[in-house]
């Protein structure tokens, strides 16, 4: 059978045109939106060249966007009765409900606030606090990211609704482990980790290793070593033909992936905490795209209130609010004042885990273009 001609793919019609399920007002105005206007921090008016308008109401959702089906039905009812019969989930876990008049949008805000959900998240506010799923469905979680997110939302709600404004957009990510599924490119990133290298039972660890060193000679790498992202686990053949294991403390980042594939690797969960990374952003505004930098290697994660984490995040936001220029995101602000100065202001100890970064050149898309 001959291979299909790739050019045939261009003629392929998708099974369902994506516009099929759009509300009529959106179908009529496809490609015609020309302007927009903000009504507070949670409602945007989109204006079409036809004169029609759509109002989007942005609603903050529970950590990790977890909903009971009954709650989803309530939201759908609101969207049907007050909106144009459409709602969408944003990639950062907010819900946007569409209406065709400002009066209806304001009514939607009133109804969802009564349901207990905040409206806001546009302009110089917190746009979202993203969280990974952690223990609910994940096997590598170290700390319960959604619970930390809940504690942060409780403390920072006025920054989402716009009751208190910020110098610029602020996004926060919370990840339960260094796999960082909650995200690592936001202004503030919290990443759970064990804070110490693992230990192991020298006898039982053999259950996770090949029985004979001959397997290593043949090129086999045991999974417990293979999964380590920093090559901190070394396996070696002993003179008696058995296999030994070493954990190189100086390379270990305490992510816990080894424990995930071997029950006889052990971490002391009482030492678990979060690392705080600042200044990431994908946006091309300001200094352009920036990576996040670890500034505080460890803050204890103490449920249920996580007061230590909340206090540190508030301290960082307060210092940013006090000093940043209008429109200056945390990464841009840190680049302007310098990480050393930031450490000095917050009295942050400088260790090998939070060395001030030495940036040179451009990140992201900017490195592909000549500047004028």
């Amino acid at each position: 059978m001959s291979a299909p001609n790739p050019a045939e793919r261009l003629k392929k019609v998708l099974p369902v045109p994506y516009t099929k399920f759009l509300p009529d007002i959106l179908k009529r105005n496809l490609g015609r939106w020309v302007d927009r206007k903000f009504h507070g921090y949670g409602i945007i008016e989109h204006i079409s060249e036809t004169g029609e308008r759509v109002f989007t109401v942005k609603v903050g959702t529970p950590p990790n966007f977890r909903f009971a089906t009954s709650t989803l039905r309530e939201f759908a009812k609101v969207a049907d009765e007050l909106g144009v019969g459409a709602l969408r989930f944003t990639r950062n876990g907010n819900i946007e409900i569409l209406a065709d008049s400002l009066d209806k949008a304001l009514k939607i805000r009133e109804v969802v606030e009564k349901m207990g959900y905040p409206v806001g998240g546009w302009g110089p506010t917190i746009w979202s606090i993203n969280s990974c799923t952690a223990f609910l469905t994940c096997t590598t979680a170290v700390v319960d990211a959604p619970s930390i997110t809940k504690a942060l939302y409780d403390a920072l709600k006025p920054y989402f609704t716009g009751e208190i404004t910020l110098p610029a957009k602020l996004r926060i990510n919370v990840s339960g482990c260094p796999s960082s599924c909650g995200g690592l490119t936001s202004d503030i990133n919290l990443v759970g980790h064990y804070g110490d290298a693992p230990t192991y039972d020298p006898e039982r660890i053999k259950l996770c290793l090949p029985k004979s060193a001959k397997a290593l000679e043949a090129g086999h790498v045991p999974e417990v070593a293979e999964v380590c992202p920093t090559n901190a686990i070394k396996v070696y053949g002993k003179q008696d033909g058995s296999v030994g294991l070493d954990i190189i403390r100086s390379k270990c980042i305490a992510c816990g992936r080894c424990r995930d594939v071997c029950d006889w690797i052990d971490f002391d969960s009482s030492k678990a905490g979060v690392a705080v990374l600042l200044g990431g952003k994908a946006s091309n505004t300001g200094r352009g795209p920036l990576p996040s930098v670890q500034v505080i290697p460890w803050v204890p994660a103490v449920p249920p209130e996580y007061r230590e984490i909340v206090a540190v995040v508030k301290k960082i936001i307060d210092e940013w609010r006090r000093d940043a220029k209008q429109g200056e995101r945390i990464g841009d602000w840190l680049m302007r004042i310098g990480y050393e100065e930031f450490y000095r202001r917050l009295n942050i100890p400088v260790t090998k885990w939070n060395q001030p970064p030495r940036f040179g050149g451009e990140f992201g898309i900017r490195q592909f273009f000549q500047t004028a």
Binding site: G195, D196, A197, V261, W298, V312, I348, R358, G360, F368
Partner: protein, 75 residues
Amino acid sequence: MNGLETGVSKHKDRIGDFIMKVGFKKYTEEILGVKVPYKPSLHGRLGAGAVLDDGERRMWLDWVNNIVKEYEGRI
């Protein structure tokens, strides 16, 4: 399915790891066939995590507790 036997993906095999392995210049010029006007930014360690001894943990705990005290009644 390959890689799903234990539910753990091998993070050493992601695209960024691959670029680091072959080198940014070789990746862009020989594999992608583009000439990039700038070198990628140089920067320090960007990973998250730390392996601390008891003394270091105490130091960070003291630092954190000072901030908790500062925010007492406000969080």
